[in-house]
Structure formats: structure tokens, C-alpha cells
């Protein structure tokens, strides 16, 4: 599904190197988790994959089902099936959440040569997905993320994911800011989407989320590289002992 090879990334404006040769392969149907110390480059990786400005790829490649991701516009990547649940979802005053969701869904469908969803069908679809995430109708009427609490913003990200049904879902610390119940709801939302044709890359600091969303593979990222890869037990080890041992082992 997603294949990243020897990815090197620096900031466009400064001579600051952030990713120093990331290699990662996520197969369809799998859930991979990435853990790693603050500032190790996890969000940067997710931004570079989704096409945010400000980064320069100096080496390496990233493909989504054999399409060269790094050459596509952000909207093309989205239409190709990539989705990033932001660590910090963005507030957009003046743009209604419903307008936003419908515009996004129909734009993606149009890009794929599919018919637009009618207003009625769309409304039904959103209501259904919102209800399962316990997002109340009132929130849907407000501008995108404006006045949403931290946890509501994260749930809104998952709502978008559920609606857009992407193939490759990257979740950047979706668990931070969620209360215990919300974490369960969000995890159920993610688990409901798990299937053969879809893959997840879950960035997190905590084992707790991985109790609900059971990963197939766990990676540790440090200083711009994947330094260790293992099974779910790797996350448990991090939870217990922190990163010191792992990082010492690398050096």
C-alpha cells in the first residue's frame, strides 16, 4: 500500500535536516504504529507524505499503490486515497463544517470520475457517522473546528476519515486530548474501517490507544529514522522502560 524508501527531508527555508533516511512499508490490511521521542520527525513524515509546503525532499521516494506520492498535489494524494488525521486539526472560521465535508467528499469523487453525492444522501451519511462518534448535530453546523474542544477536534478528524473512506490512513496522535470514553469511540471508528483494502499508520506516544487498535507492526522513530521495528510487544516495552534502552541499543 504505502512504501517509503530512504526518505531524506530538510526544511525548505533553513538548513535543518529532519528526516534522515526513513524506510517503511505498510501492506494493505495492516495497522502499523510509529512511536518515538518528541521531535524525532513523526509529524514531519506525515506532512511530507500528504504534501505540505515548506519541506524539501533531498533523497528517496514514497509511493501509494505504486503512484509517486511526492510528485502529486495534496488534493491528488487525497483523491488517491491518502488521509492524514492532523495532530493539530485546523480551525477555519467562516467555512461551515457541513460545507467543508461535502465539498471534500464531492471533490474526491469527482477526481476519481465518480458521481457527486446528493444533498439528501450526504446528510444521511454524515448523521449516521456523526452519531456513531457521538458528535452532536450542533457541532456540524459550526465552522470547521471553531470552538471545538481538543477532543472534539480529534473526533471530527475521524468523522472525516469515516466519510472519505481513504485507503491509507495516517493518524498523528489522534489519542492525545481524548478522554477514556472518546478514545474508545475513536478506536471503534478506526476498527470499523479496518479491512483488507485499507491500511493504517498510527502515530502515538501511548500504549493505551494500541490496546484498542491492535497494531500488526510497531516502529520506533528517532532522530529522523526508523531505528527499530517489531511486534506489539515493542510498544509495551516503550511503555514500561521508555526509549533509553532502545536508543542505546541503536548506538
Amino acid at each position: 500500500m504505502l512504501e517509503i524508501k530512504n526518505l531524506h527531508v530538510k526544511l525548505e527555508e533553513e538548513d535543518k535536516v529532519i528526516l534522515r533516511g526513513v524506510d517503511l512499508k505498510v501492506e494493505a490490511g495492516k495497522v502499523h504504529a510509529i512511536m518515538g521521542p518528541n521531535g524525532s520527525g513523526k509529524s514531519t513524515l506525515s506532512y511530507v507524505l500528504s504534501g505540505r509546503d515548506g519541506y524539501e525532499v533531498t533523497e528517496g521516494s514514497a509511493t501509494l499503490e505504486d503512484q509517486e506520492l511526492l510528485e502529486m498535489e495534496p488534493e491528488e494524494r487525497a483523491a488517491a486515497g491518502l488521509f492524514l488525521a492532523f495532530q493539530y486539526p485546523v480551525e477555519i472560521p467562516g467555512v461551515g463544517n457541513m460545507t467543508f465535508l461535502r465539498t471534500a467528499l464531492n471533490a474526491q469523487r469527482k477526481a476519481r470520475g465518480e458521481d457527486e453525492v446528493s444533498a439528501g444522501d450526504f446528510l444521511k451519511l454524515v448523521r449516521e457517522k456523526a452519531a456513531s462518534l457521538k458528535i452532536d448535530a450542533d457541532m456540524m453546523k459550526r465552522p470547521v473546528n471553531v470552538g471545538f474542544s481538543g477532543g472534539e477536534k480529534k473526533r471530527n478528524e475521524i468523522l472525516q476519515m469515516a466519510l472519505l473512506e481513504p485507503k491509507m490512513c495516517i493518524l498523528d496522535e489522534t489519542d492525545s486530548g481524548l478522554d477514556v470514553d472518546a478514545m474508545k469511540l475513536v478506536s471503534e471508528g478506526v476498527n470499523a474501517l479496518r479491512d483488507e483494502g485499507r491500511a493504517f499508520l498510527v502515530i502515538t506516544h501511548y500504549q493505551r490507544l494500541l490496546d484498542h487498535i491492535k497494531p500488526d507492526v510497531v516502529h520506533i522513530m528517532a532522530n529522523g529514522r526508523i531505528v527499530q521495528t517489531g511486534g506489539p510487544e515493542l510498544a509495551l516495552e516503550v511503555e514500561k522502560n521508555g526509549y533509553a534502552d532502545i536508543l542505546a541499543g541503536v548506538q
Binding site: 498535489e73 488534493e75 483523491a79 477555519i92 467555512v95 460545507t99 474526491q108 465552522p143
Partner: protein
Amino acid sequence: MALPQAKLDQLSARIAGLHFPATGWQGKARGEALERLGAMGLPGKRDEYWRYTDPTALTAPETKAVEGRGEAAFESIDAVKLVFVDGVFDAAASDDPALAGVEITRLAEVADIHWAGDLYGQLEAAGQTPVQRPLAAIGSAFATDGVLIRATAAAGRPVALVYRSESYSSDVILHHVVKLEEGAELTLLESGDAAARLLTVMEVDVAKDARFHHVRSQGRTPERLVATHIFARIAEGALFKSFTVAANGVLTRNEAVLDIVGDDAVAHVAGVAVGDGRDFLHDDTVFITHGAERCESRQVFKKVLKNGATGVFQGKILVKPGAQKTDGYQISQSLLLDGDSQFLAKPELEIYADDVKCSHGSTSGAIDDTALFYLRSRGVPEKAAQSLLVLAFLAEALAEIEDEAIAEDLRARLEGWLDRHDG
């Protein structure tokens, strides 16, 4: 105080060839306007009130022909249409001006005894202090035509003034007078391009508990020059709302002078301007006087500028002694789509009452890159995402239009403009 010779010569050159009827109340009112004009002379670049906008093109004796692209708005709105072609009322192209509770007369055909006799030029004259507005005096003195509208009840349909130009070489001067009697309600629409150079004055007298809505779409002819003036007197419990959308044109100066004279009145003036190109200058100049208690005023102006366009806002709230519990709000904002464009704003508050709430804010900024990326990351193409953000920026101003159908008409028009101007 006599004007210096150079100013007199400049004024003579500007009004050479212009005439007005010498008799009746019109002759008197227009004569007085000419006297006011003679005492003021034309505005100059060095005048404080024209600091950001060079009036030369408006004061020059002649104006050059332009290539017209007039576009009437509000076609989806069921209104009584009054059409002016090159500044002259065209009865054949217009609807029958019969509307229950509303009396409509053409300025060029008005009788010697008429209700407008007590009003014509009066609000303009009052609006000459503390700031001089010589162009408005030209409008009162030399208007070739206009409408006189008197509403005595709630009008069932809006009245729509539609401007067309056939030659686009014309220099048109119009003067409208609108009077709403106690408890009356009227919506007045204006759209289209009247001329290569248009000068208008509209005097609006809103009596007790009356409600006046004005929505205007200024034409799209790229090289047109426009100077408009609204003078309103707003009585107790009355409501006055004026909204303008403008795109294109090399020079637009829209002045609004609102005088709130009765308690519990409401006065809103708002506008959206979309400017593209180094030649574009759009200037909103507003002066609101609070002279009564518990009144509310709002000024909401938004501009989207690119490729070197300039936006100007001069807005003043004057709260007179005794105008307690005044609620004054003023915001002027520009969205600069590139580093070449500029926004010049001069917000002013002058308050002589102690129990008032007045706020003002002025900002200019760029499209929020983070928001743009967020939208694109969800699959919204860049241009559509940008349009969404621009419309979001304009939303607060558009919300000032009360009638949803009229607002929707303008919103669709704006979307069209934004799409066409992309890239």
C-alpha cells in the same frame, strides 16, 4: 472666503457644459448646491480626506471612453425595475413604476410642487460639515436625472435601479431622493454600469420606525470611474442598512454619511470589494454621527486584493454629547492575495458621551496557508479551497444583507468573479 484662481479655473473646467433647470424648487436647490460647490472648490490630492485616493480622474474636465462590460445583478429577484441608459431614465425598458405604498417620480420630469422639494440637496448640504464633499455638491447641482421615491407603507417588492451604458464614453451624474414615512419599509437595489464616469448622490430620509434596505452591485467595467454618496437621516426606532459589492473599475469612491437623529435607531453600512490589478483602487469612506440614545451602528468592510490592487477605508464614528448607550462597531479588513497589494485604513472614533460602547478594528492579512493545506489534504483542489477561504473571509460582511435571496444572488456572483479571476 474666495477660492484661489487656480481652484476656480479647475472647477469651471469640470462643470463647463453642465446645466440645470433654473426654475422651481429644483432651480433653487441646485443653485444653492452650486454656491456650496463654488465655496469649496474641487477636492485635491493634498486634502486630508483624499489622502489615500487621488481624486484627479474624478475632477478632470473630461473622461475617456472605456470598453464596457456592464452586468446587471439581481436578475433572480422580483423587483420593480427602473432602467437608466447613459444616465437617462428609459421608460420603455423599465417596469411600470406602480407599487402599492410607494410613489416613484423621475427627477427630470418632476412637478414644481413635490415632496422632494423639502429634501433635495438638504441632507447633502448638512453632510458637508465637518468634512467637505464637493463632488456631492456637483451631484446635487448638475444631476441629469434620478428617482424620487416615497414609501408610505411596507413595499411588496424591491425597487431596482438598473444602470446601462451604450456609449461608455458618457459622464453621468445622478441624484436620487428616498423618503420613508413613519413605519414604511423599502428595499432599493442598484446594479450595472451607468457610464465611463459616474457620480451619484442618494439622499435617504428614514422616518420613525421605518426600515430601509439598500443593496448595490457596482458594475464590472474594468476602467470605469465611480464616486457615490449616500446621505441618510435616521429617525427614532428606524433602521437603515446599506450594502455594496464591487469588483473591477479603476477608481471607486463610495461615501456614506449617516446621521442618526432619533433614539433606538439602527444604521449599518457594509461592503465587499474584489480588486485585481495595479490600476484598481476601491475607497470606502464612512462618517456616522450618533446624536441620540441607545442607537446601534455597524460598519463592516471586507476587501480581497491582488496583483497590486489598493483598498482604502476611512471610517469615523462620532458620538455627540448625550448620545448615551451608543453601540458602535466598525471593522475593516483586507485579504491580500499577494505581496504587491495594499490596504490603507484610517479608523476614527470621536466620543463625547461617557456611557458608550464603541469598537473598531482594521487588519490586513494573507490567506491562511495552514487552512489552505488542511482543505487540500481533504481533496479540495487549490482554487476551490482558496475560494472557500475568500468567501469565508467575506462572510461577516455578506451576513449584513438581510434578504436571503438577495444575499444568495450576490454570493453566487462573487463566486463567479473569484473563479474567473483565479490564477
